[in-house]
Amino acid sequence: MDTKITLSGLTLDNPIIPASGTFGFGREFAAFYDLDILGSFCLKGTTREPRYGNPLPRIAECPSGMLNAVGLQNPGVDAVIEQELPEVAKIFRKPVIANISGFSIDEYAEVAAKFDACAQVGILEINISCPNVHAGGMAFGTDPKSAFEVTQAVKKVTRKPVYMKLSPNTADIARVAKACEDAGADGISLINTLLGMRLDLRKRRPLLANVTGGLSGPAVFPIAVRMVCQVARAVRVPIIGMGGVSCARDVIELMMAGATAVEVGAANLRDPYACPKIIEALPGVMREYQIEKLSDIIGCAVKE
């Protein structure tokens, strides 16, 4: 059974990557298992300045999922590089994926340039799809023109592979993906969360202080499959698929739809062992579907 996959020259032991914002900087999960079993992991979304994020409540239960409106809480890029990365090195020996957010094109480029100097970072994932910040964030990822500009600006300042993380909250995700590829993106990550909202019936008010939040969890999985497939047909660069993945079968499904690797998000919060369970189950599920080499199935279901 061969579970290895390759993302822009970086070979991972398996395609399983905990998604940004659901894994912190790994510390909390290192209390439960050895992180080196993972393919890689995505650091908490990082901005130029430290951010507190949104007021509480930031979390709401949903049918088969959850809403979050954390709002990019992070200690800022300098603290991530100086304090968090050395701590990450103690618990994870493989290259990590840095996740970058910004409120201007300059900010994306500045943060990317700083991570470019970090040997530990294998890939830059550029989040142009956060639904929980006003201005910036998702605004860059819903329009092909601004997605092109962010991609181009980041590519100029780094030699590391650049993966653009796209929002499902857009009319034509394939066009945005194509714009990123045209601007030199090495890969596409998708999907970020879907914009949602819940009410507190007793208070007759929105449940989240931010009013809206991003929906994740198994509820969004079919949307992820559809969008990964649409993007796989539109671009030639590799895709990191995500959105509601909770078991090894979901991993196979997203890969058949066109993903080279798969991020696991909300499932980590519900069960800290979600990723090790998926990795353990993967060879058995591969056998069940007569898959010798996992990389053979990438996009097999959607080739036209």
């Binding site: 509480l56 979390i59 239960e61 809480q73």
Partner: protein, 241 residues
């Protein structure tokens, strides 16, 4: 260090019209301090439900909860022999400071005060207990606190637990409180010195990964699930809550 444990329900007892006591068996080694909590996975719900630890010993765990939503409604129906997928040993807990503490609990903030009272007693410190309930029908555990040997007073309805403390004028060198936010605020405003307050929040994971419950304090951002739920009264930024 948190731990994932499959607990078995031993007994379920109805304490009031909407409040239940569960006694569970299983590994409790991750629970080290009163004031910590557990996070329970329930059928058909995506997020776990956090509940404070009422009491524990080697191999048994007691929880008390009020039915407030889908999660607790389901929990109120478990039967002996059922198992509960639980993350245990979460949060920081109380520090057991002082030689003459008062412990103040309001409603479902009362359960953690029970293990806290027992922990003080093991240090040969006798705490005084002040409990607040919505009505006499909502009262529970008054006798259990008295059986520990603690002087226990209860306030009901429009008489607040802070009225009770003002009235009784207990001598104390430390206070610990758990209950609704307005109660915690009133307690912190009235009581002398620095006390410990336990807060509640909607949580994503309960073990610090999602930062869904981070609050601002005067000493920086704190995750209620890891750096809390117990916080010093002098670090709370009441305006930012």
């Amino acid at each position: 260090m948190p731990k994932s444990v499959l607990y078995t329900v031993e007994t379920r007892k109805k304490l009031t019209h909407d409040t239940y006591e569960l006694n569970l068996s299983g590994d409790t080694s991750a629970i080290t301090k009163p004031g910590q909590f557990v996070n329970i996975l329930l059928d058909g719900l995506f997020l776990r439900r956090p509940l404070s630890v009422c009491d524990w010993d080697d191999g048994t765990l007691r929880l008390i909860f009020k039915v407030v939503g889908d999660g607790t409604r389901q929990l109120a129906k478990v039967r002996p022999g059922d198992t509960l997928d639980t993350l245990t040993g979460l949060g920081n807990g109380y520090t057991l400071t002082g030689r003459a503490p008062i412990l103040i609990g309001g409603g479902v903030g009362i359960p953690p005060m029970y293990a806290l009272a027992k922990a003080y007693l093991r240090k040969c410190v006798l705490p005084r207990i002040f409990l607040g309930f919505r009505s006499p029908d909502d009262a529970f555990y008054i006798d259990e606190f008295r059986e520990l040997g603690c002087e226990t007073a209860a306030a009901y309805g429009s008489t607040l637990v802070t009225d009770l403390i003002r009235d009784r004028q207990p001598a104390y060198d430390h206070y610990c409180a758990c209950g609704p936010e307005p109660m915690l605020k009133a307690v912190a405003k009235m009581c002398r010195g620095v006390g410990e307050l336990s807060f509640e929040a909607r949580m994503g994971c309960g073990f610090g990964a999602c930062v869904g419950c981070t609050c601002r304090t005067l000493t920086g951002n704190k995750r209620i699930c890891v750096e809390g739920p117990v916080m010093r009264s002098d670090e709370i930024d009441w305006e930012a809550l």
